[in-house]
């Protein structure tokens, strides 16, 4: 299907014994545009194109495929390798209650994903407790409480807790009382340029051990994705990425950029607004999406 898209350029390429530099450059130029249109970061595209050029030039062209097909296949392999061979599992082991933290930019889908994640854990025999440390957004706690109720998961709140740390500590005591073996913590959205808010998270992580610290990222994010990821890496040290809103048909180049730069595993993908719309990440499917 990808080959059909590029049939125009392929007609220009003649099928030879080996791929010449010109042959490869022609296809690379087109593919570079495709990746940029998919929101892959400028620098990641550059590295990828250079690597593919090295691998493709001088390579033997098999009788069954055209030079263009060889280049595309090489590209697809490189992208797939960056995204990771197979799906990654959640870290659900550790001292009980296991703590999961969700952080990210405003509106990325943290609150919804917190409830989805709790529902996901519940289906796998884990008894989770949902808690919100968001004291900034209007009706943030109400939103999580409703989602918790809809997913049949316990929701913890103590209005006397004014800091995220005190809220989580109170949640931990409650978890032990209710024999909950996991706590999913929702946080307020914050920008990568809001250093005081990032400091708030860093302080929290210094005080509590979180088995998972997920960066929740909107799949429609553009070139800013790398800056966002690197900043959150420096302040929060995420253990993985949760990509949301893939159902907007966003090509999701941001995820390739971030994984290329940080090496983080992509643990889960949000594919809609409903509680059950959380899936395991499939590197191959993502690679095809990114290539258009």
């Amino acid at each position: 299907q990808l080959v059909e898209k590029f049939s125009g350029i392929f007609k220009k390429l003649r099928s030879k014994g080996k791929l010449s530099e010109q042959d490869v450059d022609l296809v690379l130029k087109e593919l570079r545009m495709v990746l940029l249109e998919s929101d892959v970061h400028f620098r990641v595209v550059k590295d990828l194109v250079n690597r593919v050029r090295e691998r493709a030039v001088g390579r033997d062209v098999l009788d069954s495929v055209t030079p263009g097909e060889m280049v595309i296949k090489t590209f697809w392999e490189e992208i797939k390798n960056i995204l990771g061979g197979e799906a990654h599992s959640l870290n659900t082991t550790g001292n009980i209650p296991v703590l999961h933290l969700l952080v990210g930019l405003q509106g990325s889908g943290k609150t919804t994903t917190a409830a989805k994640l709790a529902s996901w854990l519940k289906k796998r025999g884990i008894s989770p407790l949902l808690v919100s440390t968001d004291t900034r957004r209007p009706a943030a706690k109400e939103q999580l409480a409703i989602l918790a109720h809809n997913s049949g998961v316990a929701f913890f709140d103590d209005s006397s807790c004014v800091t995220p740390l005190s809220m989580i500590q109170a949640a931990m005591s409650a978890a032990r009382e209710k024999s909950a073996d996991a706590i999913v913590v929702d946080t307020a959205g914050r920008l990568h340029v809001e250093k005081d808010l990032l400091a708030e998270l860093r302080e929290l992580i210094g005080e509590m051990a979180f088995q998972e610290r997920f960066l929740v990222l909107d799949a429609t994010t553009g070139q800013e994705a790398v800056k966002v990821a690197e900043t959150f890496r420096d302040w929060v040290d995420p253990t993985g990425l949760i990509l949301t809103k893939i159902d907007t048909d966003a090509r999701g180049g941001a995820v390739l950029s971030i994984v290329a730069q940080t090496g983080w595993p992509v643990k889960l993908v949000g594919v809609g607004e409903k509680l059950e719309q959380l899936e395991v990440f499939h590197p191959e499917r993502m690679a095809s999406r990114i290539l258009g």
């Binding site: 990325s108 900034r136 409703i146 920008l191 909107d218 429609t220 994010t221 159902d247 907007t248 048909d249």
Partner: protein, 280 residues
Amino acid sequence: SRIWGGEKIEDEDWEILEETLIQADIGPLLAMELVEGFREFKKESTGNKDWRGWLSQVLLKEISENDSRLFAGTAGKDLKALFLIGINGVGKTTVAGKLANYYQQKGEQVSLVAADTFRAAAIEQLQVWADRAKVHCIKGSAGADPGTVVYDGLEASLRRKDSLAIIDTAGRSHVNKNLLAELEKVSRIIGKHLPTDRVENLLVIDAMAGQNAFLQAESIGKAVPINGVILTKWDSQARGGIIFRIQKELGLPIKFIGVGEKIEDIIPFDPESFVQALVF
């Protein structure tokens, strides 16, 4: 390094230009066009024009016609409406609150209409903004049909002799046919109450969005005729270059920019400062 003025310097120039444009989310096609334009300019001009100076001029020209006013040329105190639409999480509800406050302060009598009956605590969230802006909030029940809420809301607003009704809607994926159909239906209901020159359909997009924001504008624009765009989270320092593509291919003007999470964090679109932030 400009003192040499040789061919080598010019090569670096267009590369930095292209990089700046791509990183601003202007998109690869438009970036390529602009780089070609700059090359032509360098061939024809003898003066030593810095690419930044050239780019500022060119980009400013692209959006100089932009009219950021709402209801320009529409007079009278009769009811007008703002219909806020967009994908999930871009900032529609927050913009509704900010605009309610903004227009209330300008002397309009404003009501907020909570037509997001789907998402958890959406109505509660808008009510908080109504309290902050000190405006009336018209609500239906959670799970009610948004068309009904808008119908009842506009009726109530007319009875109250409001001059402006700001309608918040549920976020949606712009590729979900049912949700686009819902938007189209609600838009028609608004059209039955108010003449077109008294309704502004505003698309809300996130400044950090990539090329998908263009597809959002294109797709949602087929369901509801968009009058203008509101760009949120510009305080993220993302350049929001996608608006150039939206302006160029869809002809949509930018009306407001969201610059934070507080009620006063909204400013009318100013082409000069927008281009300045992108180029320098």
